[in-house]
Amino acid sequence: MTNAIIELNHLAKKFGDETVLKDINMTLKKGEIIGLIGPSGAGKSTVIKVTLGMEVASGGSAKVFDTVMPNRQLLGRIGYMAQTDALYDSLSGRENLKFYGLMKGIAKQDMAKEVDHAAKVVDLTDDLDKRVSGYSGGMMRRLSLAIALLGNPELLILDEPTVGIDPALRRQIWKELGSIRDEGRSILITTHVMDEAELCDRVALLLGGKVMAFDKPASLEAQYQVDTVEDVFLKAEGVE
């Protein structure tokens, strides 16, 4: 596949004796949002870690942009947002953005423009010069997202980006994610919020280290003969 951004092939990962991922097969195409759902401890974060090259696959392969991970240079083309906010409290929002921007390798002359754009998307422009220690939980989350958006990366990997964000802003963020997709960029997102899963192009249901189902939300609902992704989730998990 020429337009596969992420290609996970029989991916397995062990930590010592503990097998976290057994057999993950998943592809993320250009201009697509894939939602990764699954109960806590299903291995969602591990999938992300292996995809980013933080961890090395114990079996199978993880390819990003047709290159086997881990690969340091590729990281510049990926926008990553972790579950934790990962911000420097004593720095202002702008300083955080600038610092991560420099780390990503954004050129100095583009920096101000990039920072302003990312801040605008998450509605933080007015608070950009305040120290992060004075931010609310939601503001920190938004800043964290803004950092991932810096430099218009071709691939966004977002680990639960909308936790602690109020509904209005969440809608705005999803709108932005939609327009990113329409620009032909790709997004891998993990979420616990099932109505967000409905907004994804395809949903991968992760359970017991395997991808139980991987399809369009509507197809999944049809397959499991239920009305919502949440029900798919519950049915797959065996709770009924």
């Binding site: 690969n71 990926i78 004593s90």
Partner: protein, 406 residues
């Protein structure tokens, strides 16, 4: 480029944390001030000197000096017993024309006080002896002159009769007075330079406790604070997830380590300069050697401490666990750093000191501060510190692989 960005960020964070900054700069000053006060106020404490076979005059002179008490002992063994019972701080014994001084030397300030008292007592005694001798010889001279005058008068009076026998007697007398006066003066000059031998029960004449501690103490503060703060900083990066996020960018692992080294290196330079200035201007400690060399050695030590802190922080899961390294890693450094003389330790204990970075910096800085050794003659110590630095830095760069595989 990224290294510089990381350095800037770490520095920014550090300078905004006013309390930690205050700790780094004010705590060493406070502790050193306290130590200098505690170790040096002893100059006003009383010293007890035991004397054996010393002239009354010297005893009296020394006894008249403030804070000095003189006790006389008949035998040396009695005095020695008193010394070991801590009743007296030193023994002064006169052997013929020479003096033998024995100091307990457990407190260098007391030793110094005794030395001073003895010296001034001796000077006072010899001056008064000199005075007396001078007086004697002057009176002798006056007598001689009077006799001479009398003789001339006699000669004049007995001009015609020529009483040669009287003149001969007068001349004899004059010669006799002359000889006694010269005898007196030679005696007094020989007494002003008696041979003085010093004995120390503990240590040697170089033992000045604070002076000896200071170069090592300086290094210790640098090591302690840089170790702790850098370790904590990296621990925080790890626990808040910023390290993961940092590693999710194309940044090189070495850039992170070097960025930290640069920022903490700058901080350590400032800290060392502050500490050196405080010790020199405020505490009045004499730095014989080059101050820039002291800063360079401490900078090197700070970088070792930094690398060490970063390395150990990977074994800690919380700030409290980081604190637990203090008794395990930092405190033992003091024992082997040379504050306590290493030569008095068992061989296997001495061997431990070879893996203590503080020992090498302490040796080097002591040499520079107290003996004025050039930094270029400290190549051995510097080489060991550099080896520590390179090995630890390498381990750190490799160790970050734990968090990202490339």
């Amino acid at each position: 480029m990224r290294t510089i960005a990381i350095m800037n960020r770490v520095l920014k964070e550090l300078f905004r944390d006013k309390r930690t900054l205050a700790l780094m700069f004010l705590a060493p000053i406070l502790v050193m001030l306290l130590m200098s006060v505690i170790f040096n106020t002893n100059s006003t404490t009383d010293v007890n000197v035991g004397t054996v076979a010393v002239t009354q005059k010297l005893n009296k002179e020394m006894g008249s000096i403030k804070h000095v008490n003189v006790k006389t002992y008949d035998t040396k063994s009695a005095a020695k017993k008193a010394l070991s019972d801590e009743k007296i701080d030193a023994i002064i014994k006169k052997n013929g024309n020479n003096y033998s001084l024995t100091y307990a030397n457990t407190d260098s300030t007391k030793t110094a006080a005794v030395k001073l008292a003895f010296k001034s007592g001796l000077t006072a005694t010899s001056i008064s002896q000199l005075k007396a001798a001078l007086k004697k010889s002057t009176t002798g001279m006056v007598k001689l002159q009077a006799q001479l005058q009398a003789m001339q008068k006699q000669q004049a009076a007995a001009n015609a009769t020529t009483n040669s026998s009287a003149a001969a007697v007068a001349a004899k007398q004059a010669a006799a007075t002359k000889s006694t006066s010269t005898n007196n003066s030679t005696k007094s000059t020989s007494q002003t330079t008696p041979k003085i031998t010093n004995h120390y029960v503990y240590g040697d004449k170089d033992t000045g406790y604070f002076a000896k501690m200071l170069p090592i103490l300086m290094g210790f503060f640098v090591f302690f604070f840089v170790f702790l703060i850098s370790g904590m900083a990296l621990l925080k990066e790890r626990t808040t997830g910023t390290l993961d996020r940092l590693l999710a960018t194309p940044v090189k692992r070495s850039s992170i380590v070097f960025g930290y080294m640069l920022s903490y290196g700058i901080l350590a330079v400032i800290q060392t300069i502050v500490i050196v200035l405080v010790t020199v201007w405020l505490l009045g400690i004499e730095v014989v050697g080059n101050m820039a060399s002291v800063v360079v050695i401490n900078l090197l030590l700070a970088l070792v401490a930094l690398a060490f802190g970063i390395l150990l922080s990977t074994f800690a899961n919380s700030e409290f666990q980081m604190m637990q390294f203090i008794p395990l890693v930092v405190i033992p450094q003091i024992f082997f750093s040379g504050i306590i003389p290493l030569d008095s330790m068992a061989d296997w204990v001495k061997d431990i000191s070879y893996i203590i970075p503080l020992k090498y910096s302490g040796d080097a800085v002591s040499d520079i501060i107290m003996r004025g050794t050039s930094i270029f003659n400290e190549g051995g110590n510097i080489l060991v510190l550099l080896t520590f630095l390179i090995v630890l830095t390498f381990l750190n760069v490799v160790g970050l692989k734990r968090y990202r595989k490339v």
